[in-house]
């Protein structure tokens, strides 16, 4: 959406017209780009249809292979065996979702260095160099580009099946994605010629599907639709998300939402290091042989984790070359011990989300577990234990829930109505992260707190920190940390023309507005006591404004201006 800024006005006008003039608007498609697997679904007029690729698969591996001429999205067309060969060669790039919009000081990026392609980090807060091995040369690319190539093929596949051009999409994203990361996803979509209608946090897509299912039950039984609280836990390869939703009459209201970049990929790497402790030392050169060994170990470990879902122990037998052999019997207990921290993090996310939602465990009607890692017995047990119940909600396909929800939202947001009321739905979203500005030194001063119902608009009053201060910097951050350094910088701007006065006298009002499409605008203006009008024209800035190297901007601003343009919060007068 950000890169379409110049067409936004006409764009929205068009959508408005389409809604009123066309009796049969076309439904936007739903896409779930997973760290490891991807799927695409659409409302076909009466129900959700998950599209299949030419190999009759609904779930496609998310990776792109770089070859001599053109790169191709592997998962859309090729099979598992081909995938393995390509991964072994170092020509396949995957895990884009873990890399997109992250800088090289991010621990998630550092953890990606054991992937069988090049992830080069210099640790200075810029985007990492990512490259695929093509004809024995490292050819650089970016996560956005890889994602765009993948989306182009997905789009072509869907257009072929639906026999119509596709432009509008609803994508699911992790709840923990910052707004900066969301702009990267939007950019990838724009590169693929797709217009993002909505970016939905994954658990909220699941919540919408749940709302539809509950609505159908009500219709069938002719009963009254009483409110149902549900906890949704989504654990994929790259991210873990939790949400608590209150559902009644087809309206799903997100009470609390949280997430973290933790998932199956972490379990995989932990287990790889457990099986082969010398991993980082031996593979630091990324030679052709190293890559092959890395890939062999990776495939074997992935296989072991999958088998441990159904068996209690598994035989791991890998030859990594260079006389490095692993021959070991791995049991489920070991696997759980190695990944203790991952499971503890999952538990703390659920507890945090329940606490934020103010819903008691006893008041939960259903507990929904979805995502690629939902088959792991330990995960099922820990979710059941925290939510104090024997059974989990079983009316959903764990791997298709998110994409189905996205397809529903695509239909609802495209203005499609269903004669049987199946689309009489609504998700009321909440902000997964707090938004605020830098004030009182390096403190993060939230203006829109976490879990605020969207659309939202809130304002707060600040004042100058020095006498006769005529300018002030508004530096916008997003996140949950108390200091600005712990949060993600979104952008900044300067307000000038503050009349000379003693410190604390001018009022600088900062207002934040998030619309239902999750667009954030920041407004700021200056008021003087005894004056009914603002002394400067108000500023309206659409966020995020930062681009690459944003990690530096905060420090650069501090170096250039020190505390001369600082703001101070005004205590609320009772």
């Amino acid at each position: 959406m950000a890169e379409l800024q110049y067409t936004v006005a006409s764009d929205s006008e068009n959508t408005g017209e389409e809604k009123s003039s066309s009796a049969f608007p076309e439904s936007a498609i739903g896409i779930d780009i997973g760290t490891s697997q991807c799927s695409i679904a659409v409302w076909n007029g009466s129900q959700i249809e998950v599209l299949k690729n030419t190999r009759n698969q609904k779930l496609m591996r998310s990776y792109v292979t770089f070859k001599d001429e053109t790169p191709s999205a592997g998962g859309v067309t090729s099979n598992q065996l081909l995938h393995e060969r390509e991964v072994l060669s170092g020509a396949a790039i995957f895990n884009m979702k873990r890399l997109i919009g992250r800088v090289d000081t991010d621990p998630v990026v550092s953890a990606s260095k054991s992937l069988p392609f090049l992830v080069q980090t210099l640790g200075i807060g810029v985007r990492p160099l990512i490259a695929a091995l093509v004809n024995n040369a490292w050819r650089s690319t970016t996560p956005e580009e890889v994602l765009a190539i993948f989306l182009v093929e997905l789009r072509a596949m869907a257009e072929l099946q639906l026999k119509r051009p596709i432009r509008n999409v609803v994508l699911t994203v992790p709840a923990s994605f910052s707004r900066f990361q969301l702009t990267r996803i939007e950019r990838a979509c724009a590169m693929a010629g797709l217009h993002v209608l909505r970016l939905m946090p994954e658990p909220t897509a699941v919540a919408l599907l749940y709302a539809q299912q509950q609505q159908q039950i009500v219709h069938e039984n002719m009963g009254s639709g009483s409110e149902k609280n549900a906890l949704i836990f989504n654990l994929g390869a790259g991210y873990c998300d939790v949400a608590v939703t209150a559902t009644a009459g087809g309206v799903s209201q997100i009470k609390a939402i949280t997430g973290a970049a933790i998932g199956g990929e972490d379990m995989l790497q932990n287990l790889m290091r457990y099986l082969f402790p010398d991993l980082d030392r031996l593979f630091s050169n990324h030679s052709t042989n190293d890559i092959k060994s890395m890939a062999v170990l990776r495939i074997a470990t992935e296989d072991a984790i999958r088998k441990l879902c159904s068996q209690t122990s598994v035989q791991v037998d890998v030859d990594l070359g260079n006389e490095n052999n692993i021959c070991k019997v791995l049991d489920r207990k070991e696997f759980e011990e190695v990944n203790k921290q991952v499971f503890e993090k999952c538990e703390s996310l659920i507890t945090e989300c329940l606490h934020d939602s103010k819903v008691n465990v006893e008041d939960l009607s259903d507990v929904i577990l979805v995502g690629g890692c939902s088959y792991i017995p330990k995960i099922q047990n820990l979710v059941k234990a925290i939510c104090k119940r024997e059974e989990l909600y079983s009316e959903m396909n764990q791997l298709e829930a998110a994409v189905s929800g996205a397809a529903l939202e695509g239909a609802v947001a495209s203005g499609i109505s269903d004669p049987f009321g199946s689309l009489d739905l609504l998700t009321i979203q909440a902000t997964p992260l707090a938004l605020g500005i830098r004030a009182d030194g390096n403190t993060f001063s939230p203006i829109i707190p976490k879990n605020t119902t969207m659309p939202a608009r809130k304002e707060q009053v600040f004042t100058t920190s020095h006498d006769n201060q005529t300018e002030a910097l508004v530096v916008v951050y997003e996140g949950g940390g108390k200091t600005v350094e712990e949060n993600q910088l979104l952008g900044f701007f300067k307000i000038g023309g503050i009349p000379s006065a003693a410190k604390g006298v001018p009022e600088i009002i900062v207002c934040m507005d998030i619309d239902a499409g999750n667009v954030l605008r920041v407004f700021a203006w200056v008021m003087m006591p005894g004056n009914e009008h603002p002394v400067t024209p108000f500023m309206e800035v659409r966020m995020p404004t930062v681009d690459d190297g944003h990690g530096w901007c905060g420090e650069a601003l501090l170096r250039a201006y020190g505390s001369a343009l600082d703001l101070v919060t005004v205590q609320k007068r009772v």
């Binding site: 009489d424 609504l426 998700t427 659309p455 499409g517 008021m527």
Partner: protein, 297 residues
């Protein structure tokens, strides 16, 4: 709850401080309103300064004493009509206001604070199990008018014509409304017309709670062996009027005190004073009850 087309809300827009800030081109009035808005936000945490503006209850179409479940239902119903996902960007402003109203009314402390600021008082009937039994429930959406039976004689005519709406209260020996709009309009019409003592009334929904609670017999305080027993007002409508007048007066007095705190007051002093005010209010409520009893006893 009336469902208005969205255009009707855009008529309201110019009175909206925030809205005019973002869309109006009239500069002078815009800033004037903006100024009001910010001071109000800081002084009492809500934005209901403009007199013409709908208050949170009116916005959601619920009565002042509605339960949080009723507020929740109304909120969801309105969201489904006006949410930007459904009507597009033009639903943005209205949804913002809905969210604001919902946040305030769903939190007991914020709601109480808000009630004070708009001069509304929820009548604090302690609804016990028995009380709930003898109050009518709703079928369908809230409507401005409701049925109320003011009867003292045994007559089952209405319960016979519209059995889903009226029922005989065995304990009291008279008819009462079980479910508002429990039958279709025709049946209800027949039963209202056929009442031999003309005791079925159409009343304002807002008065319903008060009427239903006042008509219930209350235990009468006795003196020694005399006068003990049960009593209820002879004319429940008159009793309701009196009660409402009292509450309104009380609200006005209370608000007068509340609105003018001395400048130098510390927050601790304010809290103490608010407490004292609350106690006074409680005592007054009691004395009103006693007065009603004396009047109609």
């Amino acid at each position: 709850m009336a469902i208005l087309p969205i255009d009707q809300f855009s008529v309201l827009k110019p009175t909206r401080i925030q809205t005019s800030f973002f869309s109006s081109s009239n500069n002078t009035s815009r800033w004037k309103r903006q100024r009001i808005s910010t001071t109000v936000i800081r002084s009492c945490g809500n934005q209901s300064a403009a007199g013409t503006e709908k208050n949170h209850y009116e916005l959601l179409g619920v009565s002042v004493d509605s339960s949080s479940q009723q507020i929740k239902d109304a909120y969801r119903k309105l969201q489904k009509i006006y949410h930007p996902d459904i009507v597009g960007q033009k639903g943005h402003e209205f949804t913002l206001r809905l969210n604001q109203a919902y946040t305030v009314l769903m939190k007991e402390d914020l709601r109480r604070q808000y009630d004070t600021s708009i001069g509304e008082f929820r009548i604090g009937f302690q609804r016990t199990g028995r009380d709930v039994e003898s109050c009518s429930s709703w079928n369908g959406p809230l409507r401005p008018h409701t049925l109320f039976v003011d009867e003292t004689a045994w007559c089952g005519e209405c319960a016979y014509h519209a059995s889903n709406t009226f029922e005989m209260d065995e304990a009291l020996g008279c008819a009462r409304v079980k479910v508002q709009y429990g039958d279709d309009a025709e049946k209800i019409e027949v039963s209202v017309d056929s009442c031999p003592v003309n005791c079925i009334h159409w009343i304002d929904s807002e008065d319903l709670g008060l009427l239903e609670s006042l008509i219930r017999p209350k235990p009468k305080e006795g003196f020694g062996v005399f006068g003990q027993g049960w009593e209820r007002p002879a004319n429940v409508f008159k009793a309701t009027e009196t009660f409402k007048k009292q509450v309104a007066k009380q609200a006005k007095d209370y608000q007068g005190n509340w609105r003018e705190p001395p400048e130098e007051e510390t927050s601790a002093q304010a809290a103490a004073r608010a407490d004292a005010n609350l106690n006074l209010r409680k005592e007054r409520s009691l004395s009103i009850w006693n007065m009603i009893k004396e009047t109609f006893g």
